[in-house]
Amino acid sequence: MAPEKIEALTSTRLKTDEMIINMGPQHPATHGVLRLLLTLDGEFVKHVEPVVGHLHRAQEWQGQNRTWFQYQALIDRVDYLSGMFTSWAMARAAEKVDGCQVPLRGEYMRVIVSEMNRITSHLLWLGTYGIDLGAMFGFPFYPFREREKLLDLLEAISGQRMMFNYIRIGGVQSEAPPGWFAKVSEFVKEFPDRVDEYEAILTNNPIFIKRTKGVGILKKQLALDYGVTGPSLRASGVPLDLRKTKPYSVYDRLKFEVPIHEGDGDTFDRYVLRVKEMRESNEILRQCLEQIPGGTADELRERRKACNSCGKADCSNCGGDLMIMAKKQNAGLRIKAGEGFDAIESPRGILGCYIISTGGDTAYRFKWRNPSFCNLAALPDLLIDHPIADIMAIFGSIDVILPDVDR
């Protein structure tokens, strides 16, 4: 019997044509300019081909044609929601090549601002995830309320709301302005209540649970194969968090738990994990504020009045651990010849920077390891056999930033 005859006799479904749809790059929900080439059977996705590169800005090449000082200001734009982390990754790689030691207070300041930035990034994710699930105008702005507070604080310390350029090679840009630490600790106190509010809206919402539970299950092995990192990986049961597994900076001095979800994670687990991470970041912030050498900036200023801000390295008020910068920041900033790679844990996963320096004022080669790109690679496998409506639920839950993908 001919195959088509068998097919005709055994088929129990309607013969339908597949529909090819371009989702993006101008689709309102693709978080920027991602293009998904979808092959649909009815409303179900049969094949996905993400097309990236619409926002390619040659960030790596630009790094090779700008001085270290210039590129430090530019690199925040790669991942515009967590600029602190990109500058930090570059700073750490450059410090590794150069061999300079960041003072302890500088490291604490780095942790403080970047954990704040992690919270803002997760808050924005939470809000836009609400939009992805169709809570159109209502939900997104609650997280934005807290995000505004944090951005105001970050603006106060760095002068910018998104492109901070605060973490520099060798330390951080400046000491905190008066009253800054008090405001941060105030925020730290009230933030857990606010997270409770979000959870009250979403975590037990039956529609939200229906939309997310059991949707877009990312298997552990698949996640590892694709090199997925960050919360999406931890939601799939792999305890990989550089802050814990390979503690850098001062993370080994802080007590915190990295939330892990046991077993294969779905979108709901990824949501829960991010919410837990926000609480955890808040906890880290609290500890940092307690442990930071020299105390708040205001206290430190008072102490420095005694020595008239001498700035000597052996001064007990100005030098050693209490400094925030180990390298002179000017346009002639040079890094010793050599090569080095260092990675940190950004809100989206492992963010790595590889540098080859020839000792001049520009780098010979830059290479970034962006978490969003690797996370996005797992998307097609997650989307297969889900309806159109789930595309955004899943895509939102792996939290990619398109400039970070395209660089």
């Binding site: 749809i21 209502g138 939900f139 809206i201 309806p387 789930d390």
Partner: protein
């Protein structure tokens, strides 16, 4: 002061100003066409036959004038109201630049939309593409007509649109817009639009059943399809509203009241009724529960009918760009937009007439007191019967009971509208399969069971 309270105050002020403008304008237009113009014609010395025919024609036109004035400005206000209320619910400010407090924001938006280029996409079916917004909008205009009579307390100007098939007419007309959506989605030559249109068809058909069943339950209790009669039956008090069982509890409450007052005769009479129907109180309470659930079913079905979140799948932004109206721009898009809000207003006013007692106050004393007070004030005025004198003008302009009814029905309807906005501000969107499952597996069986239960309970009360 708490900034939230301040913002709420601003929002309330805005709402009151806009609503006064809207309803003042509508009433002025109706009065000019239905009272003033006929009086002018009569006074002008035309032949009697022609004059009375002309004034009858004018008075028959009043409902049309009312709706034609009301629909656009009301929809414009509802857009503004939604934006301001959403802003309030989400800790923002909302539009506040155009006019005082953003009062004229949607007017500016409407002007902008009118001047935008009207694009027909390549490969679209031009005729269908143009017809779709009209088919979508027209029903919401002709569908509200019977509600006018009920909302104005059967005022003589609107009596003519009080159809005996009232609510059936409204429901039949309200089922038409889905045709416009499917037509527009198909004619756009866009896959997203097509998917949105198909979803809309599926959704409208499945949610129409529980919606109609909940209305049927009310008609069953009222024994009529006439909206004016249904509204009238609920005039006694809060307990006679259909959401609270349409007066099922009244005899028992009366019994308690009479017992407290020591009125023996009434107690005796009702006790006899009790003995005839020993299950009465129990059945009455069950009936109230049924009715409240039916109200919930109605609100759910209505949200699905007018494509509100959480049922706004036909135009789900994050999935289908903008669903069936993706390709529309300019005036056609404006018509779609207006019609959506008008439909929301229509379902909310149906709910307030069918379930929430129409134009009647929750306590009878309120309505009576207001009417008597206003009537007293009107009597103080120079009560000249002479035509065109100030007394005649004021007496023909202000009818105490209509004013009271209009106030209550506006209050109820807009409370429901703001409730719908609150739902929109809180809930995420369903997925299409979950939506269908919820409709067919939960709502329809539930409403059928409740309908049967209500039929029997009615006999027991």
């Amino acid at each position: 002061m708490n900034p939230a309270v301040f913002e709420i105050g601003k929002f309330a002020r805005l709402t009151v100003i806009w609503l006064s403008i809207i309803f003042g304008a509508v009433w002025a237009a109706c009065w000019a066409v239905g009272v003033f113009a006929p009086a002018l014609i009569n006074a002008s010395g035309m032949p009697t036959e022609t004059a009375s025919l002309a004034s009858e024609v004018l008075r028959a036109l009043v409902p049309v004038v009312a709706v034609a004035v009301f629909i656009p400005i009301n929809a414009m206000f509802m857009v503004l109201c939604e934006r301001r209320a959403l802003a309030l619910f989400t800790v923002r400010k909302g539009p506040n630049r155009v006019g005082p407090d953003g009062l004229l924001q949607t007017a500016a938006d409407a002007v902008k939309l009118l001047f935008k280029e009207d694009i027909t996409p390549h490969g679209a079916d031009a005729v269908m593409f143009t017809a779709a917004p009209i088919i979508f909008f027209a029903p919401s205009i002709i569908g509200v007509l019977p509600l006018l009579a009920a909302a104005s307390g059967n005022h003589e100007l609107f009596r003519s649109v009080n159809l005996p098939t009232g609510i059936f007419y409204v429901l039949a007309i309200a089922s038409i817009p889905v045709v416009g959506i499917v037509m527009g989605g198909w004619a756009s030559n866009n896959k997203y639009s097509l998917v949105g249109a198909l979803r809309s068809a599926a959704q409208a058909i499945s949610y129409e059943i529980p919606l109609v069943l909940s209305i049927v339950a009310v008609c069953l209790m009222a024994g009529t399809l006439d909206v004016v009669k249904i509204a009238d039956q609920q005039k006694d008090s809060l307990l006679s509203w259909n959401i609270f069982g349409g007066g099922a509890l009244l005899p028992y409450v009366n019994l308690v009241v009479a017992g407290l007052q020591g009125n023996n005769e009434q107690v005796q009479a009702i006790m006899q009724h009790f003995q005839a129907q020993p299950l009465g109180p129990f059945a009455a309470v069950l009936m109230v529960v049924c009715c409240i659930i039916f109200f919930g079913i109605y609100i759910t079905g209505a949200c699905a009918e007018v494509n509100r979140i959480p049922f706004d799948l036909p135009e789900a932004e994050s999935e289908l760009v903008s669903g069936y109206n993706t390709e529309y721009s300019g005036i056609k898009f404006a018509i779609f937009f207006l019609a959506e809000f008008t439909n929301l207003f229509v379902v909310c006013s149906i709910a307030s007439i069918m379930f929430l007692g129409g134009g009647h106050a929750p306590l009878p004393g309120l309505e009576q007191g207001f009417t008597e007070m206003l009537g007293g004030i009107l009597k103080q005025l120079p009560g000249s019967k002479e035509i065109f004198s100030p007394g005649w003008l004021i007496n023909s302009l202000v009818n105490p009971s209509t004013v009271s009814q209009a106030f209550w029905i506006i209050l109820k309807t807009y409370s429901l509208v703001i409730f719908a906005i609150l739902i929109r501000a809180t809930l995420p969107r369903f997925r299409i399969d979950q939506l269908m499952a919820f409709g067919w597996k939960r709502l329809i069986p539930l409403s059928l069971i409740l309908l049967i239960a209500l039929t029997y309970l009615r006999e027991l009360v």
